[in-house]
């Protein structure tokens, strides 16, 4: 159900602007992830450089969202669903910024890997990347479309991602023992798998914040509280 507009048009404009900036930031972070991993898979340093350079714009957007959120709290003193939307937008931006950082970390390691002959174990990264990317997209989608059902799928998907990461690490450790000359390369691939595992954690956080914004439910840390 679409909420009616506020009596104050400036309030609606400020909320819409905040939301648009969050969605813009997520698009840029997704593009950075795409560039970083294309740079890795296609051994293209230019794409890696692009992912690293784009981070500046994402950082600035995070600051802008924080500034706009504070300004909104200050000027309109939002309550109920409006307050939850502002708080969630600010928390989302922080998680998106960290996802973009994982893209930068990956791009830096990809450039190092590109200096050496290709490792066939690169293929273990691809499914992890696809899984983490889908989680990120769906996390943001659950926020944008106010889809609690989609958001609630994330925890199980994050567990799957953790298992994929563990399995990949195991395989890479085995390869290190078999092929110690490429130790540095395998280590970088392990770090990249770990970056993707962090992307999944942030995507889960995004979905949790979306649930809070939509339904006022705090679904974080439910296992630890039990």
């Amino acid at each position: 159900m679409i909420a009616p507009k506020h009596i104050l048009g400036t309030f609606d404009e400020a909320l819409a602007s905040l939301r648009n900036n969050v969605l813009m930031m997520s698009s840029l972070a997704e593009r950075s992830l795409g560039n970083a991993f294309s740079g890795l898979f296609q051994r293209d340093d230019d794409l890696c450089a692009l992912a690293i350079a784009d981070d500046e714009e994402i950082d600035q957007l995070e600051k802008q969202i924080d500034k706009d959120g504070i300004d909104l709290l200050l000027r309109f003193q939002p309550v109920a669903s409006d307050l939850r939307r502002v708080v969630s937008a600010m928390k989302l931006s922080s998680n998106i910024e960290r996802i973009a950082d994982q893209a930068v970390n990956t791009a830096r390691k990809a450039r190092k890997l590109n200096q050496h002959p290709a490792l066939s174990e690169m293929q273990v990264i691809e499914p992890i990347y696809q899984h983490a990317l889908a989680m990120f997209r769906d996390g943001v989608d659950s926020y944008a479309r106010e889809d609690v059902t989609l958001a609630l799928t994330m925890e199980a998907r994050d567990t799957t991602l953790d298992q994929m990461n563990a399995k990949a690490s195991q395989r890479l450790i085995e390869r290190m023992a078999q092929d110690p000359e490429q130790l540095r390369g395998y280590l970088n691939l392990m770090f990249i798998a770990r970056h993707l595992e962090r992307v999944g954690d942030h995507a889960t956080n995004i979905a949790e914040d979306a649930v809070y914004a939509i339904a006022a439910e705090d679904i974080r840390h439910q296992h630890s509280a039990a």
Binding site: A3, P4, K5, I7, P78, V79, A80, S81, D82, R84
Partner: protein, 279 residues
Amino acid sequence: MVSLLEMPQIVSNRVSHETAPSPEQKTGESMIEIENLDFAYGTNRVLHDIDLSIPARAVTAFIGPSGCGKTTLLRCLNRMNDLIDGARITRGSIHIEGIDINSPGVDVVDLRRRVGMVFQKSNPFPKSIYDNIAYGLRIAGVTKRSRLDEAVEKSLRSAALWDEVKDRMHVSGYGLSGGQQQRLCIARALAVEPEIILMDEPCSALDPIATAKVEELIRELKTQYTIVIVTHNMQQAGRCSDFTAFFYLGRLIEVDTTSKIFSNPSQRQTEDYITGRFG
């Protein structure tokens, strides 16, 4: 019936966050029970089937758009509406500590002593600060000077006004600032030792500093008194009250803890009103 007392976890939460009450304090028990209340001005029914239980020693805020009946309901609680021709309760009852306040045997003067009221605009009497406070006690037959002195000082201290006026007790109450006049009126209400204090937009004419002083006073007073406040200021309701009741078109739409009302109200009408989507 909508009763805040049916939410034991809420009441116990509130108690646990406050200074431990003394044994005689009955925090969380119901002080006022409003049941199936209808009220009309002549043929114009303005309150419809109000069911509400107001807890003792807590602040309950009434919010809602102008004309929703919140002030009318407030004025029912000490029968101030008796003074208006044609205004009457057409159905239902109001009990305070188990006593039906509209039953024929109730002494209205005594009821208004027990249920004090502070109005939107401060209304000190054209008398000295001292005489403003002593007025109610003198009406009640207190003449002994030492007892009056004691009660005046105690009331002014309770209203956080003593330090500001102790050296000019015999100047006119009109000489005080707006905020001080409002606290003088609160002190005047406290002097007759009420159990309940009704506040009808007590800060609407005050600047932010004076408002903060009154709000701080409300916080201190709620350990001893049951307070019901009508306010149009959502932030004030959020800051001051433990429970909030939202009224619309003469009906009680929702009542809950203030935290719940302002974070995640159950009713769409409440959400639309507090977020400024009404209209």
